[in-house]
Symmetry: none
Subunit: 527 residues, 2 copies
Amino acid sequence: MARVIKIYDTTLRDGTQGEGVSFSMEDKVRLAERLDALGVHYIEGGWPGSNPKDMRFFRRIQDVPLKQARIAAFGATRRAGISAAADPSLQALVEARTPVATIFGKSWPFHVTHALQTTLPENLAMIADSVAFLAGRVEEVVYDAEHFFDGMKRDRDYALETLRAAERAGARVLVLCDTNGGTLPHEVAEIVREVRRHVRLPLGIHAHNDGECAVANSLAAVVEGVDHVQGTLNGFGERCGNANLVSIIPNLVLKLGVQAIPEPSLRELRDVARFAFELANRTPWQQQPFVGDSAFAHKAGMHVSAILKHPETYEHVTPERVGNHRRVLVSELAGRSNILWKAREYGLDLDKDTPEARRILDRLKQLEDEGYQFEGAEASFELLMERALGNHRPYFELEGYRVIVETRRSDPEPLAEATVRLQVKGIPEHTAATGNGPVNALDHALRKALEEFYPNLRELHLVDYKVRILDETSGTAARTRVLVTSGDGEETWGTVGVAHNIIDASWQALVDSVEYKLRRDERRSLR
Amino acid sequence: MARVIKIYDTTLRDGTQGEGVSFSMEDKVRLAERLDALGVHYIEGGWPGSNPKDMRFFRRIQDVPLKQARIAAFGATRRAGISAAADPSLQALVEARTPVATIFGKSWPFHVTHALQTTLPENLAMIADSVAFLAGRVEEVVYDAEHFFDGMKRDRDYALETLRAAERAGARVLVLCDTNGGTLPHEVAEIVREVRRHVRLPLGIHAHNDGECAVANSLAAVVEGVDHVQGTLNGFGERCGNANLVSIIPNLVLKLGVQAIPEPSLRELRDVARFAFELANRTPWQQQPFVGDSAFAHKAGMHVSAILKHPETYEHVTPERVGNHRRVLVSELAGRSNILWKAREYGLDLDKDTPEARRILDRLKQLEDEGYQFEGAEASFELLMERALGNHRPYFELEGYRVIVETRRSDPEPLAEATVRLQVKGIPEHTAATGNGPVNALDHALRKALEEFYPNLRELHLVDYKVRILDETSGTAARTRVLVTSGDGEETWGTVGVAHNIIDASWQALVDSVEYKLRRDERRSLR
């Protein structure tokens, strides 16, 4: 049987330390669900002691059914000079009520004396007390040895002593952290070999990418016997980021031949990676190994015929195994099978050669040319398929909207006012509303017109609103993509709109959100 | 004396295989000059036999005085069944008149029989003949062993035989290429050790990043005794890119302690990396190791005071050594020293304890709390300092604007119309204009009002427009940050606006852009 490597995802905690990365609580829940479906073993959700907002996530996630992933809460060893039980941060870890608690402690004497300003023996006691305190209160304690590699280079004996303190106190795994991210793979290998001579517990690795070696450092540790790997989706994280699980996982499964996530789940990798980019509102990394748009894109020339006949001549793995595809030419076939695959996901049964499939394909290709992108906008994609199949009945007919934004001398904030004219079930409605800005005003006016007919829209709220400019070099005449995430307490869903006019793009996404909600509620009531 | 590792840059050849990367001939010359100043040993300029346009570069570069870099031309071994002298592609290499010729040959039997469709002995003869032909006609022949690592895994003896053929024929260095980019560092190390037992020539490494290990693979090879490293600036290259020299070089010099480029030249790395992004018209990689904007950016919290006192506690190298600088993202202390630093950059002399410095600091903190961010918006920052110092005189006074976005049944695109009322030098102006969207319309109306008074605004154009939603969880009521990049053919500058209302945020950024342009032109005319 193949060796099993445990995958510990910290996108929701260390990943959010990345500049410009932040997730709402709903984003975190959606990401956790995707990570669980992917098959990771652990999901670190946040730092309850340092960030009170993270506590809300831990409460919320209790009600989310997960298939296999164990949720971990993160924290530090107790403060110097107090008992573990008296430490509010350790208390918060227990209150998070997760099966797993992960705490970090210091391995590098300089940090102990200068950052913590305490003594080396007290640091060992802090590690032992904190691990023992948690070991009695949660199912599993993970010990993160911060700055472990730097510590080993300065004071090997002390660094090893900190690990033994955690081991004796009841930790289940000792994670060697390259906190500053500057260690090179041959050093990681050497140090892991050394550690394995001194401790018996399973080891883990937590690498950062400051030397552009985080993936290689993680793999080097696995080759030397480590069996727990921490990292983030797309390498999100502070400075240059954490080790990128989207590269580590396929390297483990396809190259080293170990078990990490189930091999069929590798086909989800590209979707999960893009989903994370969308929620973080970051442009996907085009050249990203395994899952980027360019990862299997071959420029025309001498390679092409060889690739088509024998793909292994210029590809290190088969793109489909990681949910990606080869791009040599624009391939209509690839497009079509994508849609069939997605249609099945949404419970629509399409056969490859029906006119319906062709209609959806044509429409999708047209929309993608216009800049639409349905990653993170599953609700709009579902509506698109229904519209192309002729199954869609609109819940209202728009006659027109108007938005006015106007400055007034008396008020530093401009006034935003929207009017909406539409018909619901043959009855004309004409409403007006103000808002914080033009889209907010439009949202208010639309709801005013519809809530009378569809009172369940009162449950609908917008949880996120993202804007991205396409073709950025066209200045203010560029096209805009708006991504809206909505929820109603039961479910969250994403919708998208694209237009030159940001108001119009927002309107499309708002309308899709409303349509999706009404359609789903209607189908439920018919069951 | 430290070991010397030769740096072989192929940005101008393999780098241009990257999706979306292309350089004009002038770009190539400018890049070659920068690479030479940086201190790389070799610059591969192109493939004269495959791309006739590259020949123009080789002619042009003859007239460019270089300090030390040697120019290399790239090509393949002769075709099967003809003599080297009869091969037009080898002829083109000689005609390029470079001191160095680099040719690649096949190491993997499957490629010989299936891609070249020839025999294994003929492939050995092709390698030997081609190297010998060039060795008599250029100063130095570099032999690139394509697919070497894949070849070794399939037929070790044949792969080694191809190297010996090149060695006997007069090559100066044998470069082991991981053409498909999927080899892992521990395999590279093992194979390099094996090769060193069979050939005496210096070895090189040419890695690709398909497994996100290209930098680590290059370093692993150096650790095992390779002393020639090929790569590209920023890892430009086909699929996931080539090995990134911008990471490899500081790892070699600062971590492995070998000579690669002169250590003081490391301070040019960030500038050279950004220069390459600019010429390739690609957005710089924010998290790029060593040189990215985020590479030494620390988020506020427990780290900050430690970093300020002892940077080595959370930084693997000193940012200044690679031409970068530390950024402490939110911190009052760092805030003040940041401002003093930036003020000096803009030629404003502020002392730490003056009321002016405090005024600017207070204003900056207030704006940052509101969501402003001046990275990339230097023009707004400069105006902010001038306004806080009371040096600012506005070029016009706004009385009000109004934007209307309205759908009409007759047209699928909504109409966007803006009106602007303002006074310039006491004269009232009231203009109206349409546009692609509300901001575009506002931009048009503002210019209409001002160009009569300030004709130089006709030179102003917007080159980029970015929108980011702050506090995203507030849905459509969230705050919006707009970043505008403008240019006038001489200079480009960035401005920022923040408001609940996206129209108002855009307006602020537009107005700052106009004010900056007018102010700069006025100061110039006074000189």
